[in-house]
């Protein structure tokens, strides 16, 4: 089974995120880059599928130069090869453009299964997996908390508010995963050493055959007009219970229009 895992480098979850003053995009230089957490689960799932059967795992990322660190990280976990789409023209791309670019990179490479994390910690839109599936014209199995592969069929447990739905499709298919699915491994010492020798293909927008006019900030469907720094949190209200605690809490909640 040929599996692709799309991973994204995001600013460290714990770091203070900033927008750039010049073009209102995320300032990716101001914080350390890490692999989007849910993408680690997707990499782990791909490795488990291959380890239980056979096949190979290719890591696909779109991002600036330093996103190659994230590809290496996935390779050190055990993936076989990487494809890194890097191009200044991609800067400022929205979800539609990102899905177009990724679909172009993925198509024609013969992947049976394309795995994603179900959302990124920086943008949190949760739409790219579905968009990519649509653009590739393949089935989408999203929010998987369990994936079973048998022959050419992929079955997932799709996490819902009430439990899960069982959804099945034939390969090729796109699957996005939630964190319930597994416990990602640490890269091992040997994995880190081996990753240095694994192939990573670096490609440009032109190499991937992507239409320049549909990507980048100029093609985005929304524009940031203005932004302001979040106000510091104000101190909370402390209610001292002098027999009337319940009433005071009810008054507070109703003043805030919660009840």
């Amino acid at each position: 089974m040929k599996i692709a895992v799309c991973v994204k480098q995001v600013p460290d979850t714990w770091a203070e995120k900033k927008l750039r003053a010049d073009d209102s995009t995320l300032d990716r230089e101001s914080a350390d880059g890490v692999m989007n957490e849910l993408d680690e689960y997707a990499v782990e799932e791909a490795l488990r599928i291959v380890e239980a059967g056979e096949g190979e795992v290719t890591i696909v990322t779109m991002g600036p130069e330093r996103a190659s660190e994230t590809v290496r990280k996935a390779l050190s976990m055990g993936a076989d090869a990487g494809v890194h789409l890097v191009d200044d023209a991609l800067h400022g791309s929205d979800a539609l453009a990102t899905s177009e670019a990724l679909a172009k990179v993925l198509s024609g490479r013969g992947f049976d299964l394309i795995l994603f994390g179900s959302e990124s910690t920086d943008a949190r839109m949760s739409v790219v997996p579905a968009m990519v599936a649509e653009r590739l014209g393949v089935a989408q199995l999203t929010f998987a908390q369990k994936v079973t592969v048998s022959g050419g069929a992929i079955t997932i447990e799709r996490a819902t508010d009430y439990g899960y739905d069982t959804v099945e499709a034939a390969t090729p298919a796109v699957v996005s995963v939630v964190e319930k699915i597994n416990e990602p491994r640490y890269p091992s010492f040997k994995g880190i050493m081996a990753a240095k020798k694994k192939p990573v293909e670096t490609i440009s927008v032109a190499d991937a055959g992507i239409d320049q006019s549909v990507i980048g900030a100029s093609a985005a469907w929304s524009a940031v007009v203005d932004f302001a720094v979040r106000l510091p949190k104000a101190a909370g209200t402390v209610v001292t219970d002098e027999g009337d605690g319940g009433v005071k809490i009810a008054e507070f909640l109703s003043a805030q229009k919660f009840i």
Partner: protein
């Protein structure tokens, strides 16, 4: 907080960090005063870091010493205490370099897999610290093996290790041409040997160190590692690696202490401004930083030479000396910077302060390093 920029090791650093992040200050504080970091050692072993220096043919990582040094540095820089790790990493070196094919085949793959722990190294005795050749623990030939009698002290982790590498006298010093002759190394399987008594010693930091008594302990013939009578030399030629690894732990400690202090000095406001704006606070931190950077350069050069199989005794000794002095400078500056809070366990400053102080004294004290440099680098008369 970084010292030298070494992009080629960024992956390795972040790999180690990812594990260390699961073991924050709270974990290490809860181990105080003397609990062994079981879970931490298990995780690092599972990920292959502690077998890094074992060649790949025995299931290890086949790492360079530089890579091993980076691993230990990063553990210390995360706030962890790498003492248990460094022992598991390098004590096997004597077996690797001098052991028989059968010994290597029997022990190294199990050590690499984490099935066997070789973390105890018994050299020091109550009457023989810096003067190693004065040890009195003796091993005598008996049919099919050796009988060991004597006492070791400061044998760290003996209670948590399956195997111990032991230095013992096999020929009385009076019958030897030099005191460094007549010493031999043994690999003792403590799970099987009888007559070994181990008592923990309470110390200033969590180090699981012990005193060990050998009472007619019988070990088989093949417990001898390498050549009978050549034990001192066999241990000495592992010392450069040890010095470089210890230097790396000090550098990690220094990074931890300095990073915490710099952050604190930026945020703590006294007399209307951040304390870091005062030269009295800033300069000790800057001085410690300069010392750490200098020690790092020497450490990297020592490791580079070691990996290239070049003589590196001078650099390895200087690295350990400079790094242990630098981390201590950082520790003192950290306590001063944190004011009263430096003494509060919750800040992990006083713990690191205690942990890093050891390295000026053990595994070799800095006076003996200076004596080595005086004699070998400067050609002065031997002073000891």
């Amino acid at each position: 907080m970084k010292l030298s920029e070494l992009p080629e090791y960024d992956d390795l650093r972040s790999g180690v960090r990812q594990i260390c992040d699961q073991f924050p200050g709270q974990y290490w504080r809860d181990l105080e005063p003397d609990t062994y970091p079981q879970e931490f050692v298990t995780e690092l072993t599972a990920a292959g870091y502690l077998a890094a220096l074992i060649p790949e043919e025995y299931g290890g990582g086949g790492a360079s010493l530089t890579e091993a040094a980076i691993i230990l540095e990063e553990i210390a820089a995360s706030g962890g205490n790498p003492a248990a790790c460094h022992a598991q990493m390098y004590v096997m070196g004597t077996v690797l370099r001098h052991g028989s094919a059968a010994q290597k085949q029997e022990f190294l793959p199990k050590i690499a897999a984490g099935e066997l722990r070789l973390q105890a190294f018994g050299v020091t005795e109550p009457e023989a610290g810096s003067e190693t050749t004065a040890i009195r623990t003796k091993a005598e030939r008996v049919p099919d093996g050796w009988r060991i009698n004597g006492q070791k002290i400061w044998t760290s982790r003996a209670m948590y290790s399956d195997l111990m590498l032991l230095l013992a006298r096999t020929t009385a010093v009076e019958q030897c041409a030099k005191p460094s002759d007549g010493l031999s190394t043994f690999l003792i399987d403590m799970r099987q040997a009888t007559g070994i008594t181990i008592n923990p010693i309470k110390t200033m930091m969590n180090h699981n160190t012990t005193e060990v008594f050998f009472d007619d302990v019988i070990v088989p013939d093949d417990a001898l590692v390498g050549v009978e009578g050549k034990g001192f030399k066999q241990i000495l030629d592992g010392m450069n690696a040890e010095r470089i690894l210890i230097a790396s732990e000090c550098l990690g400690d220094g990074r931890f202490l300095l990073e915490r202090s710099v952050n604190y000095a930026k945020e703590r406001v006294v007399f209307g401004k951040p304390i870091g704006a005062n030269q009295g606070v800033q300069f000790p931190l800057a001085r410690a930083y300069a010392q750490l950077r200098a020690a790092d350069f020497v450490r990297l050069e020592a490791a580079r030479k070691y990996d290239a199989h070049l003589p590196c005794g001078e650099e390895a000794n200087m690295a350990k000396y400079l790094a242990s002095e630098a981390s201590w400078a950082a520790a003192n500056a950290a306590i001063d910077t944190h004011g009263g809070f430096g003494f509060a366990a919750e800040y992990d400053i006083e713990r690191k302060f205690r942990e890093t102080r050891l390295y000026q004294v053990a595994p070799i004290n800095n006076n003996l390093i200076l004596a080595f440099l005086g004699q070998h680098a400067l050609g002065l008369p031997k002073s000891y």
